[in-house]
Symmetry: D2
Amino acid sequence: MDLNPDPKTSLRRLELPAKRAERFLSIRQVTSALAAPLSTEDCAIQSMPDASPVKWHLAHTTWFFETFVLVPHQPGYRPLEPSYRVLFNSYYYAVGDRHPRPERGMLSRPGLEQVRAYRDHVDQAMLEFLSGERALPAVDALIELGLHHEQQHQELILTDIKHLLSRNPLKPAYQEQWPLTAIHACARRWISCAAGLREIGYSGPDFCFDNETPRHRVWLDAFRIASHPVTHGDFMEFIDDGGYRRPELWLSAGWEAAMARGWQAPAYWESRDGRWYSFTLHGEAPVDPHTPICHVSFYEADAFARWANARLPTESEWEVAARSSPLAGNFLESSALHPLALREASANGTPAQAFGDVWEWTRSDYGPYPGFQCTSGAVGEYNGKFMSGQYVLRGGSCATPCSHIRASYRNFFPPDARWQFSGLRLARDGE
Amino acid sequence: MDLNPDPKTSLRRLELPAKRAERFLSIRQVTSALAAPLSTEDCAIQSMPDASPVKWHLAHTTWFFETFVLVPHQPGYRPLEPSYRVLFNSYYYAVGDRHPRPERGMLSRPGLEQVRAYRDHVDQAMLEFLSGERALPAVDALIELGLHHEQQHQELILTDIKHLLSRNPLKPAYQEQWPLTAIHACARRWISCAAGLREIGYSGPDFCFDNETPRHRVWLDAFRIASHPVTHGDFMEFIDDGGYRRPELWLSAGWEAAMARGWQAPAYWESRDGRWYSFTLHGEAPVDPHTPICHVSFYEADAFARWANARLPTESEWEVAARSSPLAGNFLESSALHPLALREASANGTPAQAFGDVWEWTRSDYGPYPGFQCTSGAVGEYNGKFMSGQYVLRGGSCATPCSHIRASYRNFFPPDARWQFSGLRLARDGE
Amino acid sequence: MDLNPDPKTSLRRLELPAKRAERFLSIRQVTSALAAPLSTEDCAIQSMPDASPVKWHLAHTTWFFETFVLVPHQPGYRPLEPSYRVLFNSYYYAVGDRHPRPERGMLSRPGLEQVRAYRDHVDQAMLEFLSGERALPAVDALIELGLHHEQQHQELILTDIKHLLSRNPLKPAYQEQWPLTAIHACARRWISCAAGLREIGYSGPDFCFDNETPRHRVWLDAFRIASHPVTHGDFMEFIDDGGYRRPELWLSAGWEAAMARGWQAPAYWESRDGRWYSFTLHGEAPVDPHTPICHVSFYEADAFARWANARLPTESEWEVAARSSPLAGNFLESSALHPLALREASANGTPAQAFGDVWEWTRSDYGPYPGFQCTSGAVGEYNGKFMSGQYVLRGGSCATPCSHIRASYRNFFPPDARWQFSGLRLARDGE
Amino acid sequence: MDLNPDPKTSLRRLELPAKRAERFLSIRQVTSALAAPLSTEDCAIQSMPDASPVKWHLAHTTWFFETFVLVPHQPGYRPLEPSYRVLFNSYYYAVGDRHPRPERGMLSRPGLEQVRAYRDHVDQAMLEFLSGERALPAVDALIELGLHHEQQHQELILTDIKHLLSRNPLKPAYQEQWPLTAIHACARRWISCAAGLREIGYSGPDFCFDNETPRHRVWLDAFRIASHPVTHGDFMEFIDDGGYRRPELWLSAGWEAAMARGWQAPAYWESRDGRWYSFTLHGEAPVDPHTPICHVSFYEADAFARWANARLPTESEWEVAARSSPLAGNFLESSALHPLALREASANGTPAQAFGDVWEWTRSDYGPYPGFQCTSGAVGEYNGKFMSGQYVLRGGSCATPCSHIRASYRNFFPPDARWQFSGLRLARDGE
């Protein structure tokens, strides 16, 4: 699998048609490359209602371009198979009927080969469309949205297949080779941020999701944020100190979730002979204490922070603190597919590893920014309607494409979700 | 039932022992008065896991004083019955074992008479304690907390018994007489609030819950808030316009809840011969269009606001707008036990009926204020551990004791809860 | 509580009106006597969907006479309260709507006093009816059915209140005094029964349920049946031998039920300090090894039998073996309300304690006898429609009224039911 | 697909090694042929907990020979992959751990190709074993059991894949060509059977399952049985007459199942424009009134019989009536894979279509015959432990291999199962 990002494919606002096509294909090919190591059966099975079959991801991302770009904007375009309009609609009511999410794994047909043919069909039509003259700015925006949408599903392909493979007693690896990293001593420090009226949210000229807008003012009291994320080693201390047995450390709903599901450790962990192992995309491996913790829920992150006499940062605090860090890190393109050991920040006084490695839970619920307006039309269902009952994560993970992330990027999951590469960074009040 | 508030019982910071005892008894007696119209069986049954038997409320509020005041601070105090320590613990892990919440309705023993004897026993001991000299400020604070806790359960007694009675096909009334109100024309207006850096939260000398602190700065963009709450009549228009059949109006989680539970109207509504009826504490009655809507979930409130081309206010906006309104309204003491028709505000340019009638959903999730610290000790479990997955409601309802409410008061419930007197008031961006 | 059966009230086919009234009242009064030790709350609460509130039993047995006797056959009879027709209908579709079974515990109204008044109202009308001349044989049969129905609910009152009280951590006793029994050595023996064509089922002149008819021929191979029921002591051996941990002893569905519900012992058992205690109608007590085992499901009875290298008898075998035993034993009237220690049979070569003490599970599913016809009309729903998914129990228990039982009597419960006084007796193939 | 049975492969008790090997391979090849039309994904997915992936059936039938024949009896045999011992164990506790049934669909690995290699590996070893001298009678019996086991899974492959394909909105066909049958007028008659002492069960020299033994005496009262099974046309009359809306026709548990699952028609039926369609292995087709009804549960069969003023036969009645019919019919080998229209019986006075077309529900619960003993060892778990909560079906279906069925054959399923080719034949009391 070669996921190295092509330096030529970074986003430009005023692209020539040839550049646009190249960038389109480049992102589409990453998706196919991610599915390449998988068997036909790996791609077909849905391991839980939250996850989707890889085959479905391959088809749904294609459906997006067909439904929102080709059908309305490319005269003469003929869908390869009309029934796909319903089969591969995720949640857009405005588009019409949808195949129910927990039933995605029931679709043995169309098979993987047919889905690949579907991708080819739509890619071909998109290349023709992109080479034409008629693209309007609104359509450009839809294509851009479709490419970012595709990147989100690239990450989900990895987290969903990880979940599926983990349920197999044979514990198969997605990718055999294991990333080697030098481990340096790396002291954690608090970084201070002064109180003041700040702005957060996106307002630049490039792509962003509607939920990152409008850029708006927030008052922040003085706070400190940790220089590094919490590690697996830190979390083992929490476990050893009875973290999963002490209700006073937990939110009430978190404690109930932990009891009901029998949580004793992060997802994918297993204890054998007094040692912790975890299932990774490289198969099962001993838990490495030097790497950022991942596969913890918001509830576990919150309980850990309380145990550590700290708290989670708000998303405003996170954005203000992290936006001065360079947008570099352990992303999908490194092919590590697992968080790597702590490293020093490249710039002085900025948080290290804020981008890549693991998504970082914030204490902010996922709601609308002041003045938020949904995009109009069916794509307005993209973000706005999910603004309840979820918490914001920031910074991207080892499964996120590098060109996909921004300091203002808001990811969101329910507080009990654990199958993403989700970790945390501590914060404290005052200077 | 005589719930008229005694003018002498309003809170004073420096009370004489006699005053303190009088106030203590006065609030305790309201609880007993609320249970007086009920039969022994009415008081014993739990109608859903969210609700508790009235008998349990009578005992648990008593347990609070016994556990947090008498046992630790009154030398020589002997609990009436040691087993009550577990039976009537609601959710305090620090106090030890708890009888599970959904099992509260399984306790036929102790019977209502024994629970009344328990109340008398503890009241007697509290009066002795209050007449003594030894009270410390910390204990005073616990007693004050206990009294506000008792008032919260007064409201729950009413909402829980309403739910139980509603499940009986005989549709019995809690209270026969029906409040009469004159209905005046009452135009709804938008009240403008300018942008600026504001402060919210409580910082005065009187009692408040820990979740209202610390008072802190927030930046508010300009907004408008409605002069009156949304009415039953407004909501019927929403229903007639297909409000419960149009997913585009709803949050995704709200739509799923509405589908899964078959919501077609607010809780307690029933349609017969093309007309809406609702179950009230006075029995079943035609829905009155002139009164504030109640028994809607956060999801329904949010969908209504979207339909009305508006939104819910944030809790900061609500507090800033409403705190200039006088703290008066249709509270528990009016004995109406139902929202009353729209009335003009007593002060010009302030929101009308912000206090009393119905709790108003805000769009703010219930989280910690910047710098929030839980109260230490077991009573620290009072509020902080519930700070996830719930939304803030403001202003009190027709079932709230008048002396219990403040502009900074934060009530909170999950977004699908409907059995409280919960309604809404609209807001919009900009001036 | 005085439940001694009046010797004058045994069933006579040709009763004088005065006798009929006396017998009617006598049975009705037993029901009231059973409820007498209970508090109002004890009578109101439903502890699980399978059980009903005592208040409901009091009302439903009354409803039976009102609905099937008074309304159709007593001119001028006025129901006390028309809504009771729906509220207290158990499962008769032909009678119209029914209040759902799991909701019976939601009815705080009518209260216990009103239900007692309902009983008095119907008893009064029935006495008038019984003193009249106009009774037809068909109506006599309905009254007889109603009285046997009432006796079935007498047993259920005891088993249902036992379940409710057991869920209370205070472990209250229904009846304080504990039955004393002398314990004699009592050797268990096998009783042989030769092969042959036999007849089972009822065909005499007295009352029986429709499910006991028609009397019909069955071929029985030679078998042996135990002289005594299995005891608590026997069952402790089974437990000590890993009975609840060895799937090979269990039916597949039984093992799944045991795993899913965490069965480690019969219902109501609790282990403390290496000793077994069980909850009884006299409160909690150490398990007495000399008494017949009770509160085991069909699955546990079947597993025990397999462990003992035996099997459950079929219902034909049981009836053929037990019908020569005298119809005497530890019934409701003894007020023991718990199985008593093993005793010798009164007649030589007959099974001991076949009647009373505990219901005995058979391996026969509850199905229609060859040629079975339901009673016509609404009372035809009494038995026939339950003929799937249940197993037959024979012989009555310590909670069964003595005049209620017969050798041909077929009780039936689902294979996982444990809250009845259900035990077992072993059988083996061959002579 | 060529499923024609090889005339040389019928069972002989004293087979030469070459014959035995030929017969072994012949049956194994039918299994592979049944999977041949399916895609890799079709073979991987589990559509409900009751059904298994085709891939699992292919592996589990192979596991049976490996576990019970090769490992214990073939010195030097090396399992292809030790982990399969757990992965493909269905329910044999004596063999050790099992992969949980509802998780069978989670196994993307081993893939279909690996499972085919597993089949080849075991077939090769079995052929060597069969060509050897050392086979003992006990091992012969295990091989015979393994072949009948394989045939049972052949039927399940068809019913399970039918269920999976039916859940796909594209409604794909398993096999395109549709069986044509001439439809002749065919009057249904009652066939009378006199009362008497009969014998049922198997006692011959050939293979049978343990649950068909011992042959034993039963008394049968006189009865009549229908000359033909109930047809789709008959069932449409039942539906038109409100069969699914009249609780008085149903067993209580059946009515609850019908309500809870919203049954309005047999499984796989769909109504469009006032006409019934059903999903078949040939895709969707209009319901053909001339063919035996299938995909009804025991509850529906029982309700239909009551509506028709008849009843289901007992399994004894069925066996006595049908055993004089020739063992011929519409079996798997006809490749119709669907019941065919009514035909006259080949022998006078015998039931027509008793064998093949559809399994026929009886009113007999699936229990042990008098004197029944499980086979000893792990294969004793084959039948005995399922003897509760299920009903007996007789006669085989269009998905049953012809050489698999006998008059004494007892199939069994829970009363709510509908995904088998299950229908019914009526019976009545008396001559």
